[in-house]
């Protein structure tokens, strides 16, 4: 199929959002490293890093994977998996940090 001005413009719009998502992901990665390395481990830092991970996962699933407009079940399974695994890691690590300070 030839590249018409209409579908080229549509592609450009998507690329713009893709650029922003990539920049956001890089920025959040930097932020999570800064938070992790800036001081002694704490429950608050763990909670904040897990929030960053969830946001990064959401952007990858919806924008990079292209599941924003996918069949709901496909999107829910992968979103649910990521939410459950990240929460599990956060709760577990947070619990160990909390008990270590008691």
């Amino acid at each position: 199929m030839l590249q018409t001005p209409q579908n080229y413009d549509a592609g450009r719009k998507k690329l713009d959002r893709t650029n922003l998502v990539w920049l956001g992901l890089v920025g959040l990665t930097l932020l999570s490293v800064l938070v992790g390395e800036s001081g002694p481990p704490s429950v608050m830092a763990t909670f904040f890093i897990c929030l960053i991970v969830l946001l990064k996962g959401r952007w990858i699933i919806r924008d990079f994977m292209g599941l924003r407009h996918a069949a709901p079940l496909t999107r829910w399974i992968i979103t649910g998996y990521f939410f459950v695994m990240t929460s599990l890691v956060g709760i577990f690590v947070g619990y160990l940090q909390f008990t270590a300070t008691q």
Binding site: M1, L2, Q3, N7, Y8, A10, G11, K14, L15, T18, V21, W22, L25, V26, T29, S32, V33, V35, G36, E37, P41, T46, I49, C50, V53, K56, G57, I60, I61, D63, F64, M65, G66, L67, H69, A70, A71, P72, L73, T74, I77, I78, Y81, F82, M85, T86, L88, V89, F92, V93, L96, A100
Partner: protein
């Protein structure tokens, strides 16, 4: 709309908006199976962390965080490249599709090189899989993810060759979307591995 989407897309929302699930149902079942495998690895890591808290407290401090950080950037960039490749084929831009796919392959190779540097860095400090339980689980998880990156890189290289040969078109590119989804899954898993191993202590 494919049969898979017809099976999955039910409810009033579907009638209002056009639903599109990238790839085929076989690819998604494969992706869910891979994610389940990684879920067991995460659980094993957490259980080991519970039983050997001292080793898991001291272990991450000895790791090369820069290597982990660099590989995070490389994988995020690779996901960006493969997402652009899918966008390009949807516009019918075959040459751009091939270029973005080759960029993804380049990122996959870069990941492997950084990982090799990290393993060498560990070895120079006397760190091996037998050092303690933390490093045993670290190597187990890392090497497994590394294998997935190698498989993903070969798959993306295959799709790049097929794209160059004109196998994919605007209307028919399920194979490319499936490979891209698999690659994004690898990135998604790393997003959780990175803080779990390197950052959260």
């Amino acid at each position: 709309m494919t049969t898979f989407e017809l099976l999955r897309s039910t409810g009033p929302d579907v009638a209002r908006t056009k639903s599109h699930t990238p790839g085929s149902i076989a690819v998604w079942i494969f992706i869910y199976a891979e994610l389940t495998e990684f879920a067991f690895f995460f659980l094993a890591f957490l259980v080991a962390k519970f039983y050997f808290p001292e080793e898991f407290r001291e272990g991450p401090i000895q790791l090369n965080t820069l290597a982990g950080f660099l590989n995070t950037l490389v994988l995020l960039t690779s996901s960006f490249c493969v997402a652009r490749a899918v966008q390009a084929i949807k516009r019918g831009a075959q040459r751009q599709t091939v270029i973005w796919l080759l960029c993804t392959v380049g990122a996959g190779v870069t990941y492997c090189l950084v990982k090799a540097w990290e393993y060498q860095w560990n070895e120079a400090r006397g760190i091996t899989a037998r050092t303690n339980y933390f490093f045993a689980t670290y190597y187990y998880l890392m090497f497994n993810h590394f294998l997935h990156v190698v498989i993903g890189t070969c798959t993306i290289l295959g799709t790049a060759v097929l794209a160059a040969l004109g196998h994919y078109t605007v209307d028919s590119h399920d194979g490319l979307e499936g490979a891209a989804s698999y690659w994004h899954m690898i990135d998604l898993v790393w997003i959780l591995i990175f803080p779990l191993i390197y950052v959260l202590r």
